[in-house]
């Protein structure tokens, strides 16, 4: 049985729902996998200026994932447009460019600057500190998420994806605010703020003290957030967090995602993206599911399954 793996993220058609997560993908991966098989390509987040990234060590392993504090080393927007972008012209796969900036104005500038031929969509990494709000990430609050999304919306006509942070207390509200401000899709989510201590030295394991947890350990948390966002917003959700198998990806689709991004899994298994694409086709074929798009949001939830609000009606 041949399965139709194609999905639509807003106006953008993808040959399948599987793409890399920003910061875990670069040109060099083409030695391992055929980029023309992927649903989309997603760049490492780029910034306007040159940035060096965080102090070492930048990574510490966990039993089921890793914490990174790479930061956003970036050669700047000009280098990206002149050197990196042309490298992707050879692939038929849509290129999504991840951008970030510490101010609303900086974000808008970048969105305009990357709205050039060869770029299929913009992913706004709004999980980074907003210096106009005391260093809190834009996506920590519905208000600042809306403000930056609206500015981005004005700055570009390309499809605009907002990448949310899982560290907020109310991701559903942030999702709704981003949608209302003009986002075409939501990437749910970035890494979860975490920490580890080196017991040999009594120091933090990371040069930056705290970093972002990714990998299988975060899957159940991010899956919950995908479910919450999918119920709160009508625009497509791209699930991202701890996916390392086709089965994981199916959980995200059922919970409401239209597509998925794969990050840390590619470090462990460099051809993880292809394994997941093949696995999804098999999963559907075994169950006579003709179109993978039919899985999105197909979670069976009965009335009686609705989250218990028993508190509101205390027993006698």
């Amino acid at each position: 049985m041949s399965v139709d793996l194609s999905v639509k993220v807003g106006s953008l058609s993808l040959r399948n729902p599987v793409m890399p997560a920003s910061g875990t993908f670069a040109e060099g991966l083409d030695r391992v996998i055929d980029f023309n098989r992927l649903g989309a390509l997603v760049t490492k987040t780029i910034t306007r200026e040159l940035r060096t990234g965080n102090p070492l060590p930048r990574v510490v392993e966990q039993p089921d994932g890793m914490i990174n504090s790479i930061g956003i080393p970036s050669k700047g927007i000009d280098h990206f447009i002149e050197e990196t972008l042309p490298l992707y012209a050879q692939y038929s796969t849509p290129l999504v460019v991840s951008i970030s900036a510490p101010t609303v104005e900086g974000f808008a500038y970048l969105a305009e600057a990357v709205s050039v031929p060869g770029v299929a969509a913009i992913e706004a990494n709004i999980s980074c500190p907003n210096i106009e709000e005391d260093g809190k990430a834009f996506a920590m609050s519905p208000k600042s998420a809306a403000r930056v999304t609206a500015a981005l919306r004005r700055a570009t006509t390309l499809p605009l994806w907002a990448k949310l942070t899982p560290n907020t207390g109310d991701i559903a509200a942030v999702a709704r605010a981003s949608e209302e401000a003009g986002a075409d899709a939501l990437v749910v989510a970035n890494t979860i703020l975490a920490m580890a201590v080196d017991l040999k030295t009594f120091r933090p394991s990371l040069g930056n003290i705290m970093g972002g947890l990714s990998g299988p350990a975060v899957k159940p948390i991010i899956l919950r957030q995908v479910y919450q966002c999918a119920r709160a917003a009508r625009i497509p959700i791209i699930g991202c967090g701890g996916i390392s198998s086709a089965e994981d990806a199916v959980e995200f689709l059922l919970a409401g995602a239209t597509a998925v991004q794969i990050g840390t899994a590619s470090f462990v298994q460099p051809d993880a993206l292809l394994r997941i694409i093949d696995g999804l086709a098999q999963f559907c074929a075994h169950r006579d599911i003709a179109r993978i798009a039919d899985l999105s949001g197909a979670l069976v939830v009965e009335e009686s399954d609705e989250p218990d609000m028993a508190w509101t009606e205390p027993a006698q």
């Binding site: 910061g23 875990t24 990234g53 930048r58």
Partner: protein, 261 residues
Amino acid sequence: MPEIATVISNRPIASDYRHLILSCGALAASARPGQFFQLLCPQPVGEKPFLRRPMSVYAVQADPCRIEFLYKVTGAGTRGLATLQSGDTIDVFGPLGVGFTLDRQWRHIVVVGRGAGLATLAPLARAAAELNIRVTAILSARRPDLLVSVDLFQTYGADVIGVTDAEATSGPANVEKVLRALIAQDSCDAFFTCGSARLMRVQQRLAHEFGIPGQIALEQQMACGIGLCYCCVRDFNVDGEIISRRVCWDGPVFDLAEAMP
């Protein structure tokens, strides 16, 4: 591409060191000296090495294809490697990175290594021999029994000078004396080094003083091993400017003059 290799043997050779020989495909067996593999280590009891572990190629063989590693058991990943028995399989990914380069003009190179760094340098001896370049290897360790790759160096005709902490011969002052002697007798067209920042500095100084080229294999913690994650960066001094480079992608072998501790 990652491939599943089969363990031929995995013997302890000295203290915490083990020698792993795998049967593999032609690609893996094409690894050049200084290149490395990302090994997916088995889980030792109660531990879970999540990321792959970088390991330099120690030796290769074609027909049948073999790849060898020499590793020191230090943490969860290498403890996992130590559990491998012949017949077991292991997922290996490589060869990766930029290895050493040998200039056919050279007649005599000097290799200076310490600790597990000896494993990284060992295959140079064979590559040099194939180009008729003589090798003097100054191998450093805490104790004589930890001079782990002496045999392999000697098999390929290298002159081995062992220096150890135990014998108080491994200090920078003594190594510098030995190196100066080699330079004086015109036996040092290039430096190759791995495994010691102190010895690196000695060579950098001499390389600068005598205009001798050099290459250094550097280590850094890795996640992806193929240039994606930027966790393995190190700083390099390129004509006074500090430049950050990825050890897995731009190296692990770099110009000795530009390396920083």
